[in-house]
Every structure is written in structure tokens, then in C-alpha cells.
Amino acid sequence: MKDDIVIYTGSFGSGKTELAINQSIKAIKKKEKVVIVDLDIVNPYFRSREMREKLKELGIKVVAPPGKFAMADIPLISPEIKGTIQDSDRLLLLDVGGDDVGAKSLASFYTVLKDTGYQMNLVINPYRPFTKNSAEILTMLREIEISSRLKINGLISNPNLGSQTDLELITRGHKIVKDVSKQINLPVKYLAIEQTIYEKIDKHQFEEPIFVLQRYMKLPWDEKNK
Amino acid sequence: MAKVVIDREKCKGCELCTLVCPQNILVMSKSFNKKSYHPVEQINPEKCTGCAFCAMTCPDVAIEVYK
């Protein structure tokens, strides 16, 4: 399993884009070349391409449809993607669209990825509809694997209710993810906790590593950084 | 023994029934109905076989048939 190609899949709104952006910002401090591929062909808004300029300043490359096509709702797969996957000496983060529908965009790269190897994560927020319990999560996992033609090899636990997240809620949600992990014998790579909440809670109770998340995809009333 | 009953007021005088009557016993009346159409009427009623072709063809469902 190669660890310089990391794929984020999961249900709509499970937190894939935020995680990919956060990981890229963390990684650029240690690695010279970090690339995010925006493979989201299903969401019209809140895609990593919206952060393209800001990430560029930090030295992170966002591969997404160019210029005015970035704001379109056509399933544009950038021609650079294949080359970027085959390229070495870089950390590649693939931000995929939601559900099995979004994961389908991976399937066309199957022939490349099966040779290069990859890490494929399933991002789980059990407070989202259709991934509320282990049965639903397993269905989602299977559907994503079928449509992407790839194998998920790790889980990322991202239990949150947006601004209303608290410790109790994280603990309860995280347990659901851990149960799934045990059931199918896939590791929980880490538990993601938003920074403002992380600062307030006792984090020693969690066995898994904690990834502290910052919210970059802000809403207009949060005074979005342009 | 058969009989047709024509609703003079429903008849619009289209004449289609007269064309399908095998006995040729339906003719247009010289008089008018309230809608100012010449309604159809039967002559030689004893010849009627009750085949109901006239009723079947009537676009205004103005004919009843007894047998």
C-alpha cells in the first residue's frame, strides 16, 4: 500500500474536502510537493477548487477544471489527473465527490491506481443521513467500492453536528465508527475534531490518533476568505 | 319486429345513419328541430331489422333500438 496517494471517499457532506485541505496544509510543512485533485463531479459548491488560490499561496497545487469551467456543473475531469497520479515524489490527495455516485469518478483511474497503489479512506460522519449506523455505513462502503472499483483500506472518524458538536456527541458517534471498524477489520486511521472543540475537551479518552481540523470551507456570513 | 326511436332534438342532421342503414329506411325530415337541423326520420318502419348500424354510427347518440 502506497502512502503518497491518499483518496478521500464517503457520503455527501461527510467532510472529505475539509480533511483533504487540512491534510494538504499540514503536509506542505514537511513535504515539498503536495497536490490536491478535486474529483468532485457531483457537488456544485463547497469544492476544494474554491480554495485553489489560497492553497496556491501555501505552495499546494489544486488540480481542478481550469478557469471558468471550475464554476460549472459539468463532470469535467482534468487531463492532468492521470499524469499526476503516475508522477512520483509528491503527496497526492484525491478529494472525491459524495456517495457511490461521486466515487464513480475514480473508476476511470482504476487501471492506473491499481499499479501505483493507494490509500483509500472512507470518511464517516454518523450524524449524516444514510450513514447513521453500522448497517448503513457498510452499505455506503460497499456501494463506493463497487462504483470506484477500488478497495477502501481505512476509516476516518469525523463525527460532528457542525457548530453544535460537543464531547458527548463525538464520543457517541466515534463509537459507531469503531464498531464498524471491528466488524470489518479495517483500521480507524484517526478521529477528526474541529479545533475550537478540540481546545475545550479532554482528549485522552480516545485510543485513536486525533486529527485537529480547521474549517476552511466557510459560509459567506462567516466572512469567507477570498 | 324491430324499432328505432330517434331523439329529434339530439339529431344534428349529419346523415351518417342514412348511409349505413341496409334497408334504406332512414331519411332526412323536411321539418326542422329546435336547433334548426333537419333531423333524421324513419320510413317504412316495418322493414327495420334492428341491426343498430344507425345507432352505432350516430355521433350524437340520438338513436335507440328495440328488438
Binding site: 463547497f46 464554476m71 453544535q164 459560509l219 459567506p220 456570513w221 | -
Partner: protein, 351 residues
């Protein structure tokens, strides 16, 4: 209390509709509301006796709604701006036939194919009829995902109460953003029975006819006047929110997403010693003329802000009756207004 879920606005509308007893959905995908169509497919196709159809067009979808509405079924369709334009003839028929249904419009930039970014350019179309003829829709304008839930449920009830199509007028941003929501125990609104007009089996009663026309102008006039009476009655349903209205320097009137942005502006302005009030219409039809008129006496300036070239502006001006100055700040084409931009505009006015 019900469990909270983190939902996208579009999904939340879908779940709210099902919560409200809606079992029939007919729609056609269009960005940025397609998640709602997909959500309804996922849910309704698993409910016995329910119907979901991805129609061949928006036109077909609204006419399926017309059919189901005539049978008394709780039914909805949804789309975004260009798709809503296509539905207008059908909506006009439904209004004329006095049938209840819900139409959701998650607006995007226009005119034409426009953009897929959020906008508020369909205010005129939503509140002034939209299709041909003399009618109005009941129009509710949510500004959070929870409100998408609450107002979707309310819209169904109001549609039933007045036997008139209702619209939830959101925008792409509200549809795409995620917020925690809960689905509260449904209070059973005291709604009129559909038993005395719905189509079905006519055993034991006279056959019923749903006829959205009358070729005799005097008869049609009677029908339109009767429908008109309902719009008078609807004025009781006016709903709005007042924020920071204690002796403000200026009042902003904004709905939906822009109202949400304006709340941040109010906070920012406070830090600079500026006191901004906000009137947020929740019902766009009926429009809260009265409350705006009352405040027009008390404030030197009203600023209307919309993601359009100024549409609700006209209703605010009607409400103000020239009693105070009315300005406008808008962005259009799918550009979302920022809190800072509104604050700058306020400062310019107050200077």
C-alpha cells in the same frame, strides 16, 4: 426531543416533506437542487404506496403534481430558477383549480441558463404570480437549514389550508450548506378535509370535475374573485423576524441568505458603534408591509439588500409609502454578498 442530524439544505427539505406526510414527488434534476430529487428517490422508492418519478421534464413534473394534487395527495416538486420557469403554466393551472401543492425553488443565477451559484432573482416570479393570470403563491423564505425544515412543513399546511400552491423560496447556498437539524413532533394543524373535493371513486356522490377554466368571462370573473378573496385572507399569515430593532441607526430589510449575512454585519457594526436593525420577511407572499411601514416612521433610512438588481426593493418601497429613504445594495448573477460589503454600504449611507 428528536435526534439531531447534520443535513444539507436540499436533503433537509426532502426529509421535512416526508415528515409532513408528503408521499409523492415528481421532479427533474437541476443544479443546485438535484440532491433533493435524489434524496426523494432514495426515501420514497422504499415507502409502500408512495411515488417518486424523475419526470421527462419540469413541465411533465408539475403536471404530475397537478394530477396527484387533484386526488388530495400531499405532493411536491422542486427545481431551480430555469426549471421553475418551465413549471409556470402548470402552477397557474393548479392555482386556478384551487389545489394544494408545494413547489421548492432553490434559486440560481439568471437570467437564461445563468450560473449555478446562489441568487435571489426569482422574487418577482415567486411573489407576483409567476405564470399567467391573476393569482399568487404562498411564498416562504427560509434562512437556515432548520428553517428549510420548518417552513417546508408549514408550506404544506398553508397550501392545504388555502387550497393554493405554496413555494419555499431558497437558494443554492441554503440547499448546499450543512447544518444540524431536528424534526420536531408533528403538531397536527387544524386543516380542512379534502374529502369534499378530491377526485377518486364517485360511489355515493356526484362525479367531480376539476376544471381550470371557464370560457364565460363573467363566470371566470367570479372564480378569480373567489380566489382573490383567499389572498385577502392569507394576509393573516404574515411572518417576519425583527433583529436588533431597539432604536437602530438604520434598518436593513433582507431575506434568506442575505438576512443571514446581514446578521454578521450587525455584529461587526456593533464593534464600530453602529446600530443596525434587521427586518427579515419570512413570508414573501403575503409580504410584511405593515411592520415595515410602522418602522418607516421611526428610522431615517432603510437599506434593502438582495442578491439581485432589486426586486423585493419594490415591495419595501410600497410598504414605506415614501415616509423614509430607501436605498438598495445588491449583487447579482450568483455572487453572494459579504457582511463587509453591507457594512461599507451602511457607512456610506450614514455619512
Amino acid at each position: 426531543m428528536a435526534e439531531k442530524v447534520l443535513m444539507k439544505g436540499n436533503e433537509a427539505i426532502g426529509e421535512a416533506a416526508i415528515h409532513a406526510g408528503c408521499r409523492y414527488y415528481f421532479g427533474y434534476p437541476i443544479t443546485p437542487q438535484s440532491e433533493l430529487t435524489a434524496y426523494m428517490a432514495k426515501r420514497l422508492l422504499k415507502i409502500e404506496g408512495a411515488a417518486f418519478i424523475q419526470a421527462e421534464s419540469e413541465i411533465a413534473a408539475i403536471n404530475m403534481v397537478y394530477g396527484t394534487a387533484a386526488t388530495g395527495g400531499r405532493v411536491m416538486t422542486s427545481s431551480s430558477s430555469p426549471g421553475i420557469s418551465l413549471k409556470q403554466e402548470g402552477i397557474s393551472y393548479i392555482a386556478c383549480a384551487e389545489l394544494p401543492c408545494l413547489v421548492v425553488n432553490m434559486q440560481r443565477g439568471g437570467p437564461g441558463l445563468g450560473s449555478i451559484q446562489p441568487a435571489q432573482q426569482d422574487y418577482f416570479q415567486a411573489t407576483k404570480g409567476g405564470g399567467h393570470g391573476d393569482y399568487h403563491l404562498i411564498v416562504l423564505a427560509p434562512s437556515s437549514v432548520q428553517e428549510l425544515v420548518d417552513l417546508t412543513i408549514k408550506a404544506f399546511d398553508l397550501a392545504d389550508k388555502y387550497r393554493n400552491p405554496a413555494m419555499v423560496l431558497g437558494d443554492g447556498l441554503l440547499g448546499q450548506m450543512m447544518e444540524p437539524v431536528e424534526f420536531r413532533e408533528k403538531k397536527n394543524a387544524d386543516l380542512p378535509s379534502k374529502e369534499d373535493w378530491a377526485l377518486g371513486s364517485c360511489k355515493g356522490r356526484e362525479p367531480r370535475k376539476v376544471v381550470p377554466f371557464n370560457l364565460d368571462p363573467y363566470e371566470l370573473e367570479k372564480l378569480v374573485a373567489k380566489i382573490g378573496k383567499k389572498f385577502e385572507k392569507m394576509q393573516d399569515e404574515v411572518e417576519y423576524e425583527l433583529i436588533n430593532m431597539d432604536n437602530p441607526d438604520i434598518i436593513i430589510v433582507a431575506y434568506g441568505t442575505v438576512a443571514r449575512v446581514a446578521r454578521t454585519t450587525i455584529q461587526k457594526a456593533k464593534q464600530e458603534g453602529i446600530n443596525i436593525g434587521l427586518i427579515r420577511p419570512i413570508t414573501l407572499y403575503p409580504f410584511p408591509y405593515k411592520i415595515i411601514n410602522q418602522y418607516a416612521d421611526k428610522v431615517k433610512h432603510i437599506l434593502v439588500s438582495e442578491m439581485s438588481l432589486g426586486q423585493m426593493l419594490e415591495d419595501v418601497k410600497l410598504a414605506v409609502e415614501g415616509k423614509t429613504k430607501v436605498s438598495f445594495y445588491g449583487r447579482t448573477g450568483g455572487v453572494v454578498i459579504s457582511p463587509t460589503e453591507i457594512l461599507q454600504e451602511v457607512k456610506k449611507i450614514l455619512k
